[in-house]
Point group: C2
Chain length 363, copies 2
């Protein structure tokens, strides 16, 4: 292995000079720098990461903790992870991948051993067990997500409350008065995942303001689960003319079921999703949706972390940052159908049992 000392000898300078050429922490004359650079190139020198971390007590590594369970927003998780890795590299950092499995102890481990200088947490829960580690003079950290009490924590997330409001606003603006929400799996709410509850709050508050009736139902993924939930929804609220979906695995089943039961989208019912843009765009009916800005979230998380690492004093590098959601109108939302009258075709729609169902009367 080529060491700094060898480079120094080869270039006819001292070790410290080579070090300073690399770090730029003190002025080096042009000729010297040139010679050193040439030697580095010539010998194929690469600074030893461990030695560097030891001497400088800076590992230039950020730990990223991704959820072990992959029951929601899977593509988004990967996209955030990749964005974090990419952004980190742009700042000269590498990323260590931790799974949620190890929990708080993993944070202590990588942080206490100096392996990682800072951490980014994904899939934050309202009362996350990893938070105490961070508050107690813990390592620099950024949460992608928002816990119940973000005091003293550095958080980045989509403003899901606004996202929920945006969905209702869009639908109410089109004239819908009764909306059903198909949410994440019950387990997601059970463990108090922040974004799910915040979305719901946004939906409810805006619904109340707009005089819209709202029905929320958590929903497991998969076709059968969605079928059950859908049947119950129409049973309880026959007047529902629009859906908001926040569950990627429910999207296609929902669209499929609506078709089978003879409800055209958007003519008979509107659908608005909160999901990754790509998924909304590629759905069997391109969906009006509020996007989860995965790349942006990952990038912002790293930027804030690095800012804090670089100038630990700056106050403006902490706190909560909520990205403003944007709703993209595609083909799945429109005005509600005129009120059905007894004997009208729609009330005669088959109770979705026949698999390939009778074809819908072309709206």
């Amino acid at each position: 292995m080529v060491t700094l000392a060898e480079v120094a000898r080869h270039a006819g300078v001292s070790a410290s000079t080579v070090s300073y050429v690399l770090s730029g922490k003190r002025p080096i004359s042009d000729p010297t720098r040139r010679r050193v650079r040439a030697s580095i190139e010539r010998l194929g020198y690469q600074p030893h990461a461990g030695a560097r971390a030891l001497a400088s007590s800076r590992s230039r590594i950020i730990a990223l903790m991704v959820p072990l369970r992959t029951d929601m927003y899977v593509p988004v998780m990967l996209e955030i992870a990749v964005a974090v890795a990419t952004a980190a590299r742009a700042h000269g950092y590498d990323v260590l991948l931790l799974t949620g499995e190890e929990g708080p102890s993993a944070l202590r481990r990588v942080t206490g051993s100096g392996l990682a200088e800072a951490v980014i947490l994904m899939d934050v829960q309202l009362d996350d067990e990893r938070l105490p580690v961070l508050r107690a003079a813990g390592p620099p950290a950024v949460l992608v997500g928002l816990p119940a009490d973000p005091a003293g924590l550095n958080c980045v997330d989509l403003d899901f409350t606004a996202a929920g409001a945006l969905c209702v606003e869009h639908l109410a603006g089109l004239g819908h008065r009764e909306i059903a929400v198909i949410g994440e799996a019950p387990g997601v709410y059970a463990r108090h995942t922040g974004f799910a509850e915040r979305t719901l709050r946004g939906l409810r508050d805006r619904a109340a303001e707009s005089g819209v009736r709202l029905l929320h139902r958590p929903c497991e993924g998969g076709h059968d689960a969605v079928a059950g939930v859908l049947a119950r929804i129409f049973d309880e609220r026959p007047g529902v003319s629009a859906f908001v979906v926040q569950n990627e695995t429910a999207i296609e089943p929902l669209l499929s079921l609506l078709r089978r039961t003879g409800r055209a989208v958007p003519e008979d019912v509107s659908v608005v999703a909160v999901c990754a843009d790509q998924i909304a765009a590629q759905a069997s009916v391109p969906l009006t949706s509020v996007a989860i800005p995965a790349q942006e979230l990952g990038r912002r998380a790293v930027d804030r972390l690095v800012a804090g690492l670089t100038r630990p004093d700056a106050e403006d590098t902490a706190g909560v940052e909520l990205l403003t959601p944007a709703l993209t109108v595609r083909d799945s939302s429109g005005p509600p159908p005129p009120p059905a009258r007894p004997g009208s075709p729609r009330s005669a729609a088959p109770p979705h049992g026949a698999r390939a169902g009778s074809r819908p009367p072309g709206s």
Copy 2:
């Protein structure tokens, strides 16, 4: 920060004794070990990763390179990554996340700097640009995937050729004589991704053996693209009675389009997928499928890597390991329909929407 020296002083032993208590590389008397353990506990000592790496020239870090582009098998990629991280931890290793973006130079960087001891590569292409780095006395490595020439490389992958054969076998066994394959996006084939081509070979070879006609069409994701491909397939081969799909984003659109065009699955057409089990199970028609064993792939990759790291001499830790695929029968495959005759109900199915093109006359 608590150092090993402090622990030694606190326990009244020498530094090396503490070190050996930690590493177990030499016998320590029970009382001594106890005292040292107690001091470690008491002081909350954590060995410094950098110092360790420097002194031992072993970082206990494995680099994992995930593809930057996320145009296929996204959930599988995440699952493999998480499995790698989990398995690595079980062996006392941590995982560094690299994106494909940096390419071969990233491998040189993390490996040359001693940051990572070994690497795992995902999304391997037949003629992968990262391979030269590995062959030339490169770092220990395991590829998740199979390049064109795996000589001297350590590879783990699903036996996609067998997977393809399995699909044809299943369908041929049911009596199908004309099968269409909906493949990955054209770009995937264009960059010569091994698994896609191997699957195709397995499909073709077995089709030839079984006297089955096979038509292969790459396909972009999304509903519209699938609609186009499907229309062309039925146009060229009206007799197609079964589909093999190897493209997660094409699955639901395909099922949806088949329904819309009045073809029941599995009564009229059978569908077999090569995809993650969860996706097959949750599809709107639970799909007969060959699973991609993501967890197993990740675990095996790490196991092989660690085996090679531990006993670098052992010859059996190198070479290619192909996991045997398994086909799970679900609800989407069955015998082909009896040959349609003019005037039969199926040929009278409504030509719903210009979207899927005009329906071909049955068989």
